[in-house]
Symmetry: C2
Subunit: 305 residues, 2 copies
């Protein structure tokens, strides 16, 4: 028997699409209902076989669902929570996949009725692409999914959601929302802002023509452009809602950058060499933890494994 009889996916982009395919792979959902903002996305999701039924409104999608997943940009979550609240089945679980947790909890929790379990989540997996066609069943395999259940969460509901993520290939961690938001500011939000900034600087420099920046991108810049090709709406919402932690990490980053700039200016080769040696160890840890391969990346022909 399926883990959830009826799952409602609100939003049908990269994350929801991948969840749909991973749930099918694992036989985890009896029926997958979905909805998105535009008709184009809904039609595409049906054509791709992501959903059994698509619905014009979130209200219709959630009717009778025992699991509701908010998989939209963070800024859209409050409105949707308010809209679906009166239509949620008693005992249903509501979760989300937003990249920030504190702000999502503040926006969503107040709208949900008694008797509905709200268990926020965030799969640490993604690509720079978006839309229903970007999803694939393996996205979560061997990746972490962080759940931030508020105090007093029903243990059975939490275990069931954890089992779902494990069934989709992920490993599950629990922590409080504030800690999540700080960790992600380090591993994701600050790096994204930095990549956007560096690509913006390159775009601005008139002495270095666009075509040169593109031709010679293989030298390191290329990775920044990939990160900086991520969805503008999603990332605007992330920065606006994880403001404090992101600004704190960026402050630390600037401080450190100034120290390295000073070492360059004064010709302190020893400091630079020691610094660059230290940062290598983290890379080794990531490869050992299975979060990347140590195959050299030179930007061409990649396959999914």
């Amino acid at each position: 028997m399926a883990l959830y009889g009826r799952v409602a996916l609100i939003g049908l982009g990269l994350i929801a699409g991948s969840m749909a395919l991973a749930m099918r792979r694992g036989g985890l959902a009896g029926h997958i209902a979905g909805t998105a903002r535009t008709d184009a996305t809904r039609t595409e999701a049906l054509r791709l076989g992501l959903c059994d039924t698509v619905h014009a409104t979130a209200t219709e999608a959630v009717a009778g669902a025992d699991l509701v997943v908010l998989a939209v940009p963070i800024g859209a979550m409050e409105g949707l929570a308010a809209e679906i609240a009166p239509h949620l089945a008693p005992g249903a679980t509501v979760t989300d996949v937003g990249s920030v947790k504190g702000a999502v909890i503040d926006a969503v929790a107040p709208h949900l009725p008694q008797g509905v379990h709200f268990i926020p989540g965030h799969p640490i997996a993604g690509t720079e692409q978006s839309g229903p066609g970007a999803g694939f069943a393996e996205l979560f395999d061997n990746r972490w999914c962080i759940l931030t259940p508020p105090e007093g969460t029903d243990p059975a509901a939490a275990t069931r959601l954890r089992t779902l993520w494990e069934g989709m290939g992920a490993r599950v961690d629990e922590m409080d929302a504030a800690h999540h938001d700080l960790v992600l500011a380090v591993t994701s939000h600050a790096p994204h802002l930095i990549a956007y900034t560096m690509v913006g600087v390159a775009d601005d420099l008139r002495r270095v023509t666009d075509s040169e920046v593109i031709k010679y991108s293989a030298a390191g810049f290329r990775d920044f452009t990939r990160i900086a090709a991520s969805d503008p709406t999603m990332w605007r919402d992330v920065f606006l809602t994880n403001r404090a932690a992101t600004l704190e990490i960026l402050g630390r980053f600037t401080e450190e950058l100034f120290a390295l700039q000073r070492a360059i200016r004064t010709g302190d080769g020893e400091m630079l060499h020691a610094y660059f040696t230290r940062t290598r160890a983290i890379r080794r840890g990531i490869v050992e933890a299975g979060q990347d391969t140590d195959a050299p990346d030179f930007g061409r022909a990649k396959t999914r494994g």
Copy 2:
């Protein structure tokens, strides 16, 4: 007939090893002689079939060579130039592959005798790995190699070197050394320093344990760690020798980062969205120019194409 009768590779790491394999693939060199600092590297290069002969000293390696390639960290080039100068064959071409051009020219050119052609070069291709075993024949395929021939360079010698790079799969551009150093500060040197800095910040944060940074690296940070795993000696030398251009670009970067931080602080979502939309276009250009694929990268199982 081979383009060069005898090529001497000084240094036998990633770049020289890839050149050796690419020259063999194209039948471009009659004999490949090599030398490196340590016995271990020399033995390994012979075992891998990179060289026909290896030599304990650069002096022996360059004897009778019509092409000499300096493929060592930038800081080692001046000493080697002084050492080999008296032993260079008349009419030989000396080139290098250093990532900075102005400082290499200042360090090497004064030592070379009349009648030897000095044509500096820089292949815009690499990975984060180093050593003789890291080389592969396809590294330069469809990548750019920049030559910075000083005024008055013998046109026949320049054409011959250009033909070599094209035979190794590369496309060749010419520009002056100062412009090269500015362009590369944008596409490579500043991005590397930024990646090193961000990884250093993550490593420093005691509230976010190492293991969390590693577990959740898939969220963007992972690409920074790959860049920041590059060879410390090579990169120390790059920053010390392309100081002015790197600091100029980092100054622009900081200015821009402050503007984005201010937008986050004041909640200016429109500014952020417009900025993130603009940076997407550069990515499209890079994919269209064949310098990367648009396959989503999620850090696992990659193959060379």
